[in-house]
């Protein structure tokens, strides 16, 4: 078997040097057995496995054995192959635990729906020899948007008036992308900071990872909209503020701020949502959008349209305010 892979690699990618030649897999059911040096063969195309992808949270690497980083031997392009892994787990959001299902079927359908739409990761899905739906994804050449924003070397005021309006414009376009999914009765399902990326070359924001599915609820879009709200608050603040990290983050003359429960997130009880208390130059209208995600909220956004109706005018307001402030 090793010889077969070696022959294949040398034929298709003669300049590629790898340390170990493994086996050829046409059935990906037992994805744990597929590792570095193996080749996944799908509909006549060959994908050499380089490694398992991993998710990093709280400094710990969590390997995703069903997600393989590969080289497509015929083209030399790097690809990510997501193999079929059904699991049900509780998605923790603050104190809530929501039953969540990993659905290759859903992700494959959305990939088809968003083909050619730059606001989403691109890819195709093909069945392996056992009918497992393998998703072959293009790699987004960029970095997480939250990391990009956090690393902008400016104080908040400077960032808010100079950089944020442009970021907000693009973010609104990302929200419209989510509305596009909702209009087609689909949800993203996992809108978190690490699932919106910014491409290096074009600066385009790109949503990734659509495989989370849920049991139906009366408002199927609530979860996505809450995700958009949390992301917006991060982008406006340039980072997360909690009751405990304030004095390290703000200027000394700003830290004497009285915070109440209602200033914090509805779900993440330690995250400050009422950013106007920290940065008084934030327009009231924008802060009101944030407050829809706070513990004091009585009215919630049910659609992306409602959210955008309030958010879109804020770009002009910030630009106007910038002329007065700077």
């Amino acid at each position: 078997m090793s010889k077969e892979v070696e022959k294949l690699v040398k034929k298709l990618r003669p300049n590629l040097s790898i340390g170990e030649y493994g086996r050829i897999f046409t059935d990906t059911t037992e994805f744990m057995k597929i590792s570095y040096g193996d080749v996944i063969k799908l509909q006549g195309q060959h994908y050499l496995v380089l490694r398992d992808e991993a998710e990093r949270s709280f400094g710990i690497e969590d390997p995703k054995y069903w997600v393989k980083r590969c080289i497509h031997l015929e083209s030399g392009q790097r690809k990510i192959l997501k193999l079929v892994f059904y699991e049900k787990f509780d998605l923790k959001l603050g104190d809530l635990a929501i039953p969540c299902y990993r659905s290759p079927r859903k992700e494959a359908r959305i990939l088809e729906l968003v083909r050619g739409d730059k606001r989403f990761m691109q890819g195709i899905s093909v069945p392996d020899s056992k009918g497992n739906i393998v998703r072959i994804l293009d790699i987004v050449s960029g970095k997480r948007l939250d990391h990009h924003v956090f690393e902008i070397q400016k104080g908040h005021k400077d960032y808010f008036f100079h950089d944020f309006p442009g970021i907000l414009e693009k973010f609104i376009d990302s929200c419209r992308a989510i509305k596009f999914l909702h209009d087609h009765k689909e949800i993203h399902g996992d809108i978190r900071r690490d699932h919106l990326w910014r491409e290096y070359q074009s600066g385009q924001y790109v949503w990734i990872d659509f495989d989370y599915a849920y049991e139906f609820e009366e408002n199927p879009f609530g979860l996505d909209i809450f995700g958009l709200g949390s992301l917006l608050i991060f982008l406006a603040g340039k980072q997360i503020y909690t009751g405990t990290n304030l004095d390290q983050l703000l200027d000394q003359d700003q830290v004497d701020i009285t915070l109440e429960d209602k200033d914090f997130s509805l779900l993440y009880k330690n995250r400050i949502v009422n950013l106007k208390k920290l940065f008084p130059y934030i327009p009231e209208e924008l802060n009101l959008v944030f407050m829809h995600f706070s513990q004091q909220a009585e009215i919630f956004y049910e659609t992306v349209d409602e959210f955008l109706q309030d958010l879109e005018p804020c770009i002009g307001l910030i630009k106007k305010e910038a002329n007065n402030e700077l």
Binding site: Y86, K88, L93, G94, D95, L96, I98, Y101, S103, R105, K106, K185, A213, E215, F216, E217, E218, N219, P220, G222, L223, I225, F226, L266, L267, Q295, A297, E298, F300, E302
Partner: protein
């Protein structure tokens, strides 16, 4: 609208049962009222299941449970004194997202003057994320009274 034509929206929850008990207590054997128990069933999506068979089996199970719930609540109202000729049970299956909308559509189409729903205690966060059938009906129902039973 005929307010004595009452649509009681039910499911397998305890709060739905409370709503039915309330209706039974209020109406008892009064002959002027017509009551329909409506169970709107929205099946789990195919996406959640690895195979077609697993999905179909779950759907069968959900439907059987709904039929059992309807029978049980129907009998409860009979025990409370309602007569069979004034009582109906109905199961409808939907593919769209909103159960509340299906209940309101049914009410409009069949001319019910009262909708009765149970409400379970929901935190604000849950309401944001999942929505509330009873709240939606309170906000959007037309040409009828709405009873919300906590």
């Amino acid at each position: 609208m005929n307010y004595k034509k009452i649509l009681v929206a039910v499911d397998a929850s305890e709060n739905a049962r409370r709503a039915v008990e309330y209706v039974g207590e209020i109406i008892g054997s009064s002959p002027d009222f017509h009551v329909t128990l409506l169970y709107v069933i929205r099946y789990a999506e195919r996406d959640l299941f690895p195979s077609e068979e697993a999905w179909k089996s779950k759907k069968r199970q959900e439907k059987n449970e709904a039929i059992d719930v309807l029978d049980d609540l129907y009998n409860l109202l009979i025990k409370k004194g309602l007569e069979e000729k004034t009582l109906k049970k109905e199961l409808i299956e939907i593919e769209d997202f909103s159960i509340a909308q299906a209940i309101m559509d049914y009410q409009q189409k069949k001319g019910y003057g009262t909708i009765v729903v149970g409400r379970r205690g929901m935190s604000k966060a849950e309401e944001f994320l999942f929505g509330s059938i009873s709240n939606k009906i309170v906000h959007y129902a037309k040409d009828c009274a709405v009873w919300v039973i906590e």
